[in-house]
């Protein structure tokens, strides 16, 4: 049972990824050299087998919890921050007049503002109201009713409540639905959103296709199908088997807003605009490993020499065996060191058993330069500077070579490029290109790598012991679905927030964002169930008529909030979320014994706090402490800076202490002036540790004694000080000709007592 399940899954993995890669490489290679194509096919099928066996063995092992085995961080830097923050005294916070409630909300993760306490309580009893059919949409249901109805029934009722069956079409003609190749696109820019499926119909025919069929791409019927409601609106034959389909708006201001549908295939991205082929973009060649390149350069020189000798009838026309062996050794060495090598090298070292065939192969291929064509494996879209649906966006392209590209329209130039350790299988993004973004790449080796734009060097890698099925970026965290029925949530800093298991193998995962209030995700499973989660809470269950291969949420037709599911048999099932539906957790949140008391509220407190707590729970308390200190210091700095700015910019004098009198003047005609400051303690108390600070625009003046201390100032005592000030030679216009005088008290509170500005006489 278990074996068949896992082999099923392996098959799906195979169909979705491996076969595609194999086919696309086949197609591209086929017209040129047939030997290459067969060998590349071999390679790919070999690796497929390897993968599927590994899945098998993994599956037959004990069902232990699969926590990421390794977590590497390539950057650090919180320590210095901690030290710094400790050196800052906490009084500054009070000085800035910091809101106590906001602070307690920050410091205490379980803090709930008093006015919100009541409404936080969420009860499933709302589902048990007399009018259960519309329970979620009506508002006046008593909250404090008990809930004696069994959970099963509750769930059933909510399912029917929240979703409406809109469309169910048994045969759409989609032969190979697959998540990465479906999208909901407003194809022609009017208010009617279409379902676009890049269908791999040709692949279905592959099993009985002969090899000569394979070499002729016209026999493949890979197409893009555009559905409007239930009918097929349009169908284009696409030039090569697709691996990824996305849509985006390439420009910011062109109206009407018509999105571009981009189809990734091999090294190319084909773009369709308003139902017509529009543009094509090819990823640049990748440079191979220098050692490999050298080896082939030597070989090509040798081949050239051998051929010219043959032309003079004095040689065999083949390369010397020593040269061949030397190059062979170098490449094998490289391969053993773990570096990725090109397909050509791979064939050279493993595809040719004897010297004879090696010689032939080298003669055939060595003369063409060794360049690697990238193979696109996945794509996603990153908005440039706005989160709105029709904002300008750019493409994020992942390749089999493990290189991630950021491609910016309208020129489609690669603006950023990162090399990862493994082929990229899925991508999720958070943020905006021009502000801050994080990309989560799920790789073929079962790891995720989180790349963030802010710290340019930062790249965090988490290795799973299981392959990954999908990644999506929610508002501030990533959801990673594994092939072993598990869902993980990671923050943008690569910290695990939570993980849980689902009942059946996951086939697809999709972001579900209805409006500003709900942002969750749907998990489609092999048994035809689709579960909708809000965080780790299950909020809705849907069952389809078969295994759901592809699931998309968004606008469909004229309606928003539609869930479009395509099953493995090509059945289309569209559900619409009721407009007034509220997605609430199906079961009351069971307090985790590990979680501290108050965890129910913890679920509903601010995201940042939740993140702290989740980090605390997974044991990185120290890190959490550092982060907290860093934030606190940051907050203090912000507050101090604001206060400083405020006092600096203020033109009118400040007088906090009524018992202190300041009189200051600047005398002289320049370039040298003298500043006189008189301080009078008019109160009855003695003042201690009073500082006087003189400040002027440093571009214009230099002050000899910029500050002095008055250790004690008795009642009725008057202190007079003076300082020289020189105007600088290169004083230009536009700088302020003011001298600022600050008097502050040093002690428990560094507060400014008096501040004033005095004009400098013109010279």
């Amino acid at each position: 049972m278990r074996n068949s399940e896992s082999s099923n899954r392996a098959f799906q993995n195979l169909r979705s990824n491996r076969v595609l890669g194999a086919i696309s490489s086949l197609l591209r290679k086929a017209p040129t050299v047939s030997s290459t194509s067969s060998s590349s096919f071999n390679r790919d099928s070999q690796s497929t087998i390897r993968d599927s066996t590994s899945t098998l063995t993994e599956d037959s092992s004990d069902p232990v919890r699969h926590i990421p085995a390794e977590s590497k961080e390539l950057d650090s830097g919180a320590d210095s921050a901690t030290n710094l923050s400790q050196s800052l005294s906490s009084d500054t916070l009070d000085a800035a007049g910091f809101d106590a409630e906001a602070l307690s909300a920050r410091v205490n993760p379980f803090y709930v503002p008093p006015n919100k306490r009541a409404s936080r309580v969420l009860r499933p009893s709302t589902l048990n109201a007399p009018d259960a059919k519309h329970a979620t949409s009506s508002k006046q249901i008593p909250e404090d009713e008990p809930a004696p109805v069994p959970a099963e029934k509750l769930e059933e009722e909510t399912v029917h409540d929240v979703w409406m069956k809109a469309l169910e079409i048994e045969s759409t003609g989609i032969l190979n639905p697959f998540q990465a190749c479906t999208a909901l696109v407003n194809v022609d820019g009017v208010g009617n959103t279409n379902l676009v499926v890049a269908d791999l119909a040709g692949i279905g025919k592959l099993s009985n296709a002969t090899s000569q069929n394979l070499n002729n791409p016209t026999n493949m019927f890979t197409s893009i199908k555009v559905f409007q409601g239930h009918r097929l609106l349009n169908e284009h034959i696409v030039p090569a088997p697709p691996v990824a389909l996305v849509h985006f708006y390439p420009d910011s201001d062109v109206t009407p807003r018509i999105p571009v549908t981009a189809l990734g295939s091999g090294p190319d991205v084909f773009m369709y605009h308003a139902n017509t082929p529009f543009q094509r973009f090819t990823l640049p060649f990748i440079k191979p490993h220098p050692q490999e390149e050298d080896a082939w350069k030597d070989l090509s020189v040798a081949v050239g020499a051998a051929l010219s000798q043959a032309a003079e009838c004095s040689g065999t026309g083949f390369v010397d065996d020593e040269v061949l062996q030397f190059a062979w050794n170098r490449i094998v060495e490289l391969r053993e060191s773990g570096a990725p090598i090109t397909r050509r090298s791979l064939q050279f070292i493993s595809g040719c058993p004897d010297m004879q065939s090696r010689r032939a192969m080298v003669n055939n291929e060595a003369l063409t330069p060794l360049l690697i064509q990238p193979d696109i494996s996945c794509m996603t879209v990153l908005n440039r500077n706005s989160f709105t649906k029709d904002a300008q966006a750019m493409l994020v392209v992942g390749t089999e070579q493990g290189i991630l590209y950021l491609v910016s329209p309208p020129q489609y130039s690669v603006v950023e490029q990162r090399t990862l350790l493994s082929p990229i299988a899925h991508l999720g993004v958070i943020g905006l290109y021009e502000k801050e973004f994080t990309i989560c790449c799920a790789c073929r080796d079962g790891s995720i790598q989180i790349i963030s734009s802010t710290k340019s060097k930062s790249m965090k890698r988490i290795l799973f012991d299981v392959l990954l099925e999908g990644v999506i970026g929610l508002r501030d965290h990533f959801i990673v679905a594994s092939m072993k029925k598990q869902v993980f949530a990671y923050t943008t800093e690569a910290h695990l927030m939570y993980s849980f298991s689902v009942p059946s193998p996951i086939t697809a995962i999709e972001k579900v964002e209805t409006n500003s209030t709900f942002c969750g995700y749907a998990v489609a499973m092999m048994d035809g169930q689709v579960h909708l989660y809000d965080g780790r809470d299950l909020v809705s269950k849907i069952s389809a008529n078969g295994s759901v291969c592809s699931i998309r949420f968004g606008d469909f037709g004229r309606d928003s909030s539609c869930l479009v599911m395509i099953t493995s048999t090509g059945e289309l099932d569209v559900r619409i979320l009721r407009r007034n539906a509220r997605l609430l957790p199906l079961k009351p949140a069971v307090p985790d014994p590990a979680v501290v008391k108050g965890a129910g509220e913890f679920q509903r407190c601010a995201v940042k706090i939740r993140r702290f707590i989740s980090r605390l729970l997974i044991g990185s308390a120290q890190e959490m402490y550092q982060k907290f200190q860093l934030d606190l210091m940051h907050l203090r700095l912000v507050a101090e800076r604001a206060t400083l700015n405020n006092t600096k910019r203020r033109l009118n004098p400040v007088c906090e202490a009524s018992n202190l009198k300041l009189s200051a003047e600047v005398k002289g005609f320049g370039p040298t002036y003298r500043i006189y400051v008189r301080l009078l303690n008019a109160g009855t108390d003695t003042l201690e540790n009073v500082y006087v600070l003189l400040a002027a625009d440093s571009r214009a003046y230099s002050i000899d004694t910029a500050g002095f201390e008055v250790a004690v100032l008795f009642s009725e005592q008057c202190v007079q000080r003076s300082s020289l000030m020189h105007a600088r030679q290169n004083m230009n216009e536009g700088v302020s000709d003011m001298v600022q005088v600050f008097v502050f008290e040093h002690g428990v509170r560094n507060r400014v007592l008096i501040a004033n500005k005095i004009p400098v006489p013109l010279n």
Partner: protein, 184 residues
């Protein structure tokens, strides 16, 4: 309404004003239907989706002047509907009979509307138009009524008639029924 104007109204010298709320999903053909009723106004060449709502006034031969609030049916504007419930004397609900897939959305909106507190108190009549009857393969009025669960409305008067917004066919029948309802 003063006694004097009530008297004049009863004589038919001035017409009674009736507020009507015109709702339904977007693209159902609400604006098209109402446009066909404005006999005097020059028909605009093209009807664009309504933004928010628009108000049209027209009179019929039933001694009534209808003020129709033509609401937008787009999802983001549907919340506006309920603000008019206290002030209208009848509701016209337009259904796109050619769009079976959206019947469930229309049903959801109808149910939400009928659950509204204000409307539950006010037993005003509802006139359903199964619009776009000219399109082949569309639902008949009885199918519409089944799809929207109209049979379940027991607490108020309603009727459904097939219409064609483009030609105006069937619309006047509906308003005749409404005028009868409002007289009583």
């Amino acid at each position: 309404m003063g006694i004097w104007s009530a008297f004049l109204t009863s004589l038919g010298i001035i017409k009674r004003k009736v507020n009507i709320l015109l709702v339904g999903l977007d693209n159902a053909g609400k604006s098209t239907i109402i446009n066909g009723l404005k006999l005097n106004a020059a028909a605009p060449t093209e009807i664009v989706p309504t933004v928010g709502f628009s108000v049209e006034t027209f009179s019929t031969q039933h001694r009534l002047t209808f003020t129709v609030f033509d609401m937008s049916g787009q999802g983001k504007y549907r919340d506006l509907w309920e603000y008019y419930f206290p002030d209208v004397e009848a509701i016209v609900f337009v259904i796109d009979a050619s769009d079976k897939a959206r019947a469930c959305v229309a049903r959801d909106e109808l149910e939400t509307m009928l659950e509204n507190k204000v409307l539950r108190m006010r037993k005003i009549p509802i006139l359903f138009f199964a619009n776009k009857m000219d399109i082949d393969g569309g639902m008949t009025p009885s199918e519409c009524s089944g799809a929207l669960g109209l049979e379940e409305i027991k607490d108020r008067n309603w009727t459904i008639c097939a219409t064609n917004g483009l030609t105006g066919q069937g619309v006047s029948n509906g308003f005749d029924w409404l005028a009868e309802e409002l007289k009583s």
